[in-house]
Amino acid sequence: MPNYSIEDILENPANTQGLYGYSGHIARINLTTGEVSDVDTYQYVPKYVGGRMICNRIFWDEVPTGTGPYDEANKFIYMTGPTTGTGIPAGGRSAAVSVGASNAPNMFAWGNIGGWFATELKYAGYDGFIIEGKSETPVYICIDDDKIEILPADDMWGMRVHEAQAALEEKHAHEFKSIVIGPAGENLVRFATLTTGNDSVLAKGGFGAVWGAKKLKAITVHGTGVIAPADLEKLDFLRWNMNNPGMKPSPVLHLDAIGTPGAEFPVKYDRGNMSCSPGCNQHCNALLMDGVSAFGDDLVNHTEKCVSICTFNYTTDIPAPVGMFWPTEQNYCAPCKLLGRDFPVPDFSDPHFEEQAQVVLPDKLDFWGPDYERGTIVNDLCNEYGIDKWEVVVWMMTWLSMCKTEGLFEGMGNLGCEHEIDVADAEFMKEFISNLVYRRGEYGNMFAEGMHRAIRELGYDKFSETIYHGRYSTMLGGKRTDLPVSLEAAWGSSMHWQGRGYEGSVEKPTWLAACINNMMNTRDAQTVEHFHAKFDYHAEAIADPYHSPHLIDAIIAVQNNAEIKDSVMSCEWQSPDPWWPEMESEMFMAATGAPMTPEELRDAGFRSKLLFRAILIRHYGRTRRQEVEQEWRVMQIPDTWNEVADWQQFNEMVDLIYEARGFDLETGWPYRETYEKYGLADVADEMGKLGLLPERPAERWSDYGEPPFVKFSENRKLEPDYEPDPVKASMPLEGAPPALKFS
């Protein structure tokens, strides 16, 4: 039975510490046997806080090594956090882990998702669930308070995302909140997503395909119970203080043009602020209204953020002010305010204001020109089929554009399409994407496997490493800089704030940080590990980006914070606040009533990252060499200043990170004492048994060896070093987002 009162929560015999905030139960649902059982949340908390930290622990404890994404043994582990549904800002989100289908090689992956689902689940009395096994026929899971049923989904199989959501509301009631997969997940498209009611998506990891393999179309939930935070006074304080909520009307914006002054293009662009999940006190500027449907429906409203905007126009990269990554106390505002273009008037008295406001100008890329309607159609295709826009927009579309320009498709027809290959053409995009979603023909099947695998199938050297001759660096006055046709970064993910390709306009310390974060991961980590550091350390980091102690500290903090955000439950855009380091522990305490110092919470984040590391080592043989090699290629593509990373110095930077993490330099494996220091002695024991605990060497290791071969670097050497092109240099930056406006 759900909790119907505070007493119900506190009188749960398992709740020996009298914690508020949690619902107390995790549902274990086995799709093979149909069995449902109950797991006690309190065995994991407060040590594992909630969300991703609990997911990591359950994965470590329960998922056998050698498990592939589509195996019966794979589990989908989903958790809310103690703040979820409490009214503590940004707490409405939730996290999940599983063996991913999209990453390469397939490994443990993680993600998070907003929406109203997580809160509803807690009303039903559950903090999360573990989905095990696989069904033989299409099913969905219905959680109606404590009644959990596995029901046939034959009639929903094949439905697009919004059709499936509507069908569930129809079958049950409007109050039911659902997470569904679209046809892409059913057809095991590797980059298939999970989508919930307000278009909030868990896009990374390919969990849509994991569900597809389990024949799981949806989970729908309705709860009638309660959620009880511990400290209402503190909660009130957080509501009014986290990131200075605007507390002002937010009218629908009617825009008829976007772009920089002098280079606008016409749109019918109605936007509004929306919250991704209950209790948010900020709201992102993410509601796009009256978009054109890809399926002939009426005009549709979408939730569109970051990457979606590039579908409208991708003539240049995205410019970024230095202060976005390196704020000062005088000029800091939460990233959600930046996104919502709702940031306060800057404090011009800030001695660093000039440096802060400097914008790294975007490269000219000319992937596709402005067309608002095409953009909304591409977004709608992704939303309705349930596929990851990062894969589609940042990687597939740019690749199609660049390969076509370079003439690489000659003799290949139109890649199985009737329409001529042209990413600027909505009709081509509809055909190409629907072919892959339904795995039609040779190319449909190939691209359903994701760009990483499709490119290797087609021929890596040609389809990844060929130079695209259309990139011009604005920072270098129009000099042509080389870009490969494939914007691939590590582990089968596309680039993301890595100083080249997509979101390339960042300085070296910033892109090195992003590269380190992605390197130590299993997917693009940037969605929760956007790099930020205090401006105080900018000069040090710029002077010597590879050896800046403060940069190393900042990277470690960003990594730990990612775990904290996904566990206490907060969001990437509200947390952390560099000048309020206690914020997340205050959120935790307000929710649970249990003490938690910022240091203890930081250690919990560290612990979770260690557990993640142990999973990577035990399950996938992760080593230093493996991860440095993975990341190396992207850093061998010139940044906007035509610079690449240096092998010796990058390795020295990796040394500093490993030392700060308590890892052995040669293997990249944590020492026993590192595990023990963070309360993971049992993990150390297991690693010891498996021979995965390193011995401390007598002498400091520094045998970095030779850098791995990067075909693209070789291709670059064959190219003449281009002089600036005065025409390209003077071209207006029509792809840039609108100029910063101060409210």
Binding site: S5, W116, G197, V226, I227, A228, P245, K248, S275
Partner: protein, 174 residues
């Protein structure tokens, strides 16, 4: 508004768009009972899962109050404030029969039933305009985008209601 007393209204999207954050319902529950849930939110949001346009559902404080008329414990469980005409529930006297919820003239009903493990302890909950809270309507106070107000004079918030730190912020943000 004829036929209705002073009640919570949602402003038009051209003035301010409801973001679907449900903060109003969460804070309504928390400020009344110390916990939150669908059973004690006196204000609910009809969430537009496809349209992403959200409709606020609040009691209209009807002049003819059929909910009150239907209550078998009228004037004990369900009462009318003689000064303001607010129809409110006194939980101690409520037997949780649900007749009021059924009688509400709106669909979905603006009255929720707060469950309990013991059926005997079920209670009806409905918007009382926070009549016992000197700060006035808490949903209005906490709505981030200020898309809620009172129907009578559309007062967004009585002055001095917000904590001092929040008032400073509003000034700073203005």
């Amino acid at each position: 508004m004829e036929g209705y007393g002073n009640h919570i209204v949602q402003y038009s999207p051209e003035y301010s768009l409801c973001a679907g954050c449900e903060t109003c319902s969460i804070m309504c529950g928390l400020t009344h009972d110390g916990f939150t849930g669908p059973g004690n939110a006196r204000i609910r949001i009809n969430l537009g899962t496809r349209s992403l346009m959200h409709e606020v559902l609040a009691c209209q404080q009807c002049d003819d109050h059929p909910c009150y008329e239907a209550c078998p414990k009228k004037d004990a469980a369900m009462r009318i404030d003689p000064d303001t005409n607010i129809v409110y529930i006194v939980e101690d006297d409520c037997i949780g029969c649900g007749k009021c919820a059924k009688a509400c003239k709106f669909t979905p009903s603006r009255i929720q039933i707060r469950k309990n493990k013991s059926r005997k302890l079920w209670k009806a909950v409905k918007c009382d305009l926070c009549r016992e809270n000197p700060e006035g309507p808490q949903c209005v106070k906490y709505c981030i985008v200020r898309c809620l107000g009172l129907s009578d004079d559309s007062v967004m918030l009585p002055e001095g209601v917000m904590p001092a730190y929040a008032q400073e912020q509003e000034v700073a943000n203005a």
